[in-house]
């Protein structure tokens, strides 16, 4: 079995899709000649030239808007935001424009734009370079949101995202970039569907629904819970945040009777709260204990590593919350 890093998986997906469809082009800061701050787009300019890999000035609003314009006539722009925090700089073009254009035009125009880049904490980048924006994107209808955790899923989902006629936010995570995992052979038609969760660990007592880097934290927490407390967790990797694959989650909760949603974006008005609310709307009878969620604490992410560790909803907090849920 071939293995790649997460970065390499994304790079491969980009290369394959660019080769397959000449309408695909990349646009963003430092992505061309340099190959991207995190080297995700390395070598692509050499292979496809300056017209397919555009180095922009620091003008997120305008190049996001340009992506929309180009997409209306069938181009398939893949926009890199160097840090997903910069979503806020281009927020009007993303949420007032890209997410709404198909609807506002009564379906006359399609906006197949992919917005990709890395998010998340863990590397002490502080308040403006560590935010997770999945909940923010999910709040606005009209844009798909995917956040794969493994190289395998990342490659397959990015290829699907590029071919999707909807705008898609493709959220990477800085802690995942150098992780390695199974990868499909290059150039294969390897597609992972948007909107389909994947059970990454089977279990019987508690369902942990999560995605992106938190998946690994949840898996580790599950190990600890199993070993030290005899609690068996099923870990569902949502992979897609919009639309949420609640079917797979309810299937799991039907077995476990307990649901904990975990994500790194702010807990307040976050995806976890959403999942809890939907559980009580759609499948309250499945729950044997109150459904819970964990997200980023309501503070601006601090730089200091001890403070940052405190706000991230990682392993220890997952373990503690599951234990609390079991006590009910």
């Amino acid at each position: 079995m071939r293995r790649t890093t997460y970065i390499q998986a994304i790079n491969e997906a980009l290369r394959e899709e660019m080769a397959r469809d000449e309408n695909v082009f990349l646009i963003g800061e430092d992505i061309g000649h340099y190959g991207g701050l995190f080297r995700v787009t390395r070598n692509l300019l050499d292979e496809f030239g300056e017209k397919r890999v555009l180095d922009t000035p620091i003008s997120e609003q305008a190049f996001m808007g340009m992506a929309l314009g180009a997409a209306t006539v069938g181009m398939r722009p893949v926009v890199e935001l160097m840090y997903m925090d910069f979503t806020l700089v281009a927020a009007d073009q993303i949420f007032n424009q890209i997410a709404k254009y198909h609807y506002m035009t009564g379906g006359l125009l399609k906006i197949p734009v992919v917005i990709r880049g890395q998010q998340g904490g863990g590397k002490h980048y502080g308040s403006q370079h560590s935010q997770s924006v999945d909940s923010l994107y999910a709040h606005f209808p009209g844009i798909r949101v995917v956040a794969p955790a493994t190289p395998y899923d990342a490659k397959g989902l990015l290829k699907t995202a590029i071919r999707d006629d909807n705008p898609v936010a493709f959220l990477e995570h800085k802690m995942l970039y150098f992780t390695r995992g199974e990868a499909p052979p290059p150039d294969e038609e390897h597609l992972v569907p948007i909107g389909k969760a994947d059970v990454k660990r089977a279990g019987s007592d508690v369902t942990i629904a999560t995605f992106s880097y938190c998946l690994y934290q949840a898996l580790e927490a599950a190990e600890t819970l199993e070993e030290q407390h005899g609690i068996s967790c099923e870990v569902v990797d949502l992979r897609t945040v919009e639309p949420l694959d609640t079917e797979t989650v309810w299937e799991s909760v039907a077995k476990t009777g307990r649901l904990l949603a975990v994500h790194e974006s702010y807990a307040n008005c976050g995806v976890g709260a959403e999942l809890v609310a939907r559980a009580y709307e759609e499948a309250p009878y499945l729950l044997r204990a109150p459904a819970r969620r964990l997200g980023m604490a309501p503070v601006s992410i601090p730089v200091s590593r001890v403070l940052e560790a405190e706000v991230l909803p990682w392993k220890e907090e997952i373990v503690a919350t599951v234990l609390e849920m079991e006590r009910r």
Binding site: P57, G65, G69, Q93, Y103, G142
Partner: protein
């Protein structure tokens, strides 16, 4: 026609920007601008440096028909709004017609346009059907966007009309994206984007100017300068005295033209399109025009004197066009025939819209995703 009170200040290319040399001078320029630009008109004969060829009479007649259709549709819409048939924010283009009609006629099938919430004139000039347009504004099922977009979101891809926008200046990078698509595909299509004088101070304009100039995109920036940003005159909030000179800082070609004269607009846009098609990059056109109606339906217009509007009515696009036609020997009777035909067309269009059914509630949930 109003006599020329100012020096002609329409110029094209080659002239360099003269920044004021002292604050005192800057102040003088500012008050001169607020006194002149904000209340005066610029007759087309002052367009000394832009070569404005006379257009065929047939084409002028066609343009007159279009401009009149716009005017009458806008009046009908204002009436409908007063009756409570239209909600939200509806901005009419009364007085702005020549900018749209002149530009649309200078461009080709396959070219693209994006514009602001004040976009009805662009819609019609680019070939949209008035009936479906009115239906859209009224939120009916026969609206081109099934009533979802309304007045601020005119769109018609088959006519190259790629969208109006409710967010000031947001449509500008969209047009740059269309131009980028042409550029990347090696096509010779051109994109034009319309925005107001107030839009110039949105940051995204600057970002788009820079990239469009850098990449020499086939793009025409067209500023419909009606001297007001909603209820605030432009000089009150800006330090830029001559809008058309400003984009030169990006190394762009710029022109200031009479936006009330279809022939001038046609000449300017033709020239800009030619530059764009041969790879010479974007052009910025400032069309001096005037909004004869309120900023939006319901505007009481307390912020400008009635005389200012009256003065402008003496030199507005339809008057200018009629004078041109008369000068070409088109007689009153022929014009009256057109007037009647267009009037009837718009009446029919209103009837069509009013009879159009409301969209089905289920329509609400369609088109969120493809």
């Amino acid at each position: 026609m109003k006599p020329v009170e100012n020096e002609p200040n329409v110029e094209i290319s080659g002239k360099s920007a003269a920044a004021p040399n002292s604050e005192a001078e800057a102040e003088t320029v500012e008050s001169a601008v607020s006194a002149s630009i904000s209340t005066e008109v610029l007759p087309s004969d002052s367009a000394t440096e832009l070569d404005v060829p006379a257009l065929p009479t047939e084409m002028l007649l066609e343009m007159y028909r279009k401009a009149l259709a716009i005017r009458l549709m806008e009046r009908a819409l204002l009436a409908a709004a007063e009756e409570g048939q239209i909600g939200g924010a509806m901005h009419t283009a009364i007085g702005h017609e020549a900018n749209a009609v002149g530009a649309a006629n200078a461009l080709r099938k396959g070219d693209y346009v994006t514009c602001t919430y004040r976009g009805h004139h662009h819609g019609l000039a680019w070939g949209m059907d008035p009936g479906r347009a009115i239906a859209e504004v009224m939120g009916r099922s026969d609206g081109f966007a099934k009533g979802k977009g309304g007045s601020m979101h005119f769109v018609s891809p088959e006519n190259g009309m790629m969208g109006a926008n409710g967010i000031v200046a947001a449509q500008v990078p969209h047009a740059a994206g269309l131009a980028l698509a042409s550029h990347l595909r090696g096509e010779d299509t051109v994109a034009i984007t319309f925005f107001g004088d107030g839009a110039l101070f949105q940051g995204v304009m600057h970002e788009t100017f820079n990239m469009a100039a850098k990449w020499k995109l086939p793009l025409i920036f067209y500023c419909e300068n009606n001297r007001y940003s909603e209820m605030t005159p432009i000089w009150r909030t800006s330090s830029i005295e001559d809008i058309f000179l400003f984009p030169r800082a990006y190394g762009m070609e710029t022109m200031q033209i009479d936006g009330n004269d279809v022939e001038v607009v046609h000449a300017a846009v033709s020239k800009a399109a030619e530059r764009a098609r041969c790879g010479a990059g974007p052009t910025f056109i400032e069309g001096i025009t005037y909004r004869l109606a309120g900023h939006m339906a319901g505007d009481l217009e307390t912020y400008r004197p009635a005389e200012e509007v009256e003065k402008q009515e003496a030199y507005e696009p339809l008057t200018v066009l009629r004078q041109k036609l008369t000068a070409r020997g088109v007689d009153e009777a022929s014009i009256a025939v057109i007037d009647e035909e267009v009037d009837e067309m718009i009446e029919d269009a209103v009837d069509f819209a009013e009879e159009s059914p409301w969209p089905d509630a289920a329509e609400t949930y369609r088109d969120v995703y493809v």
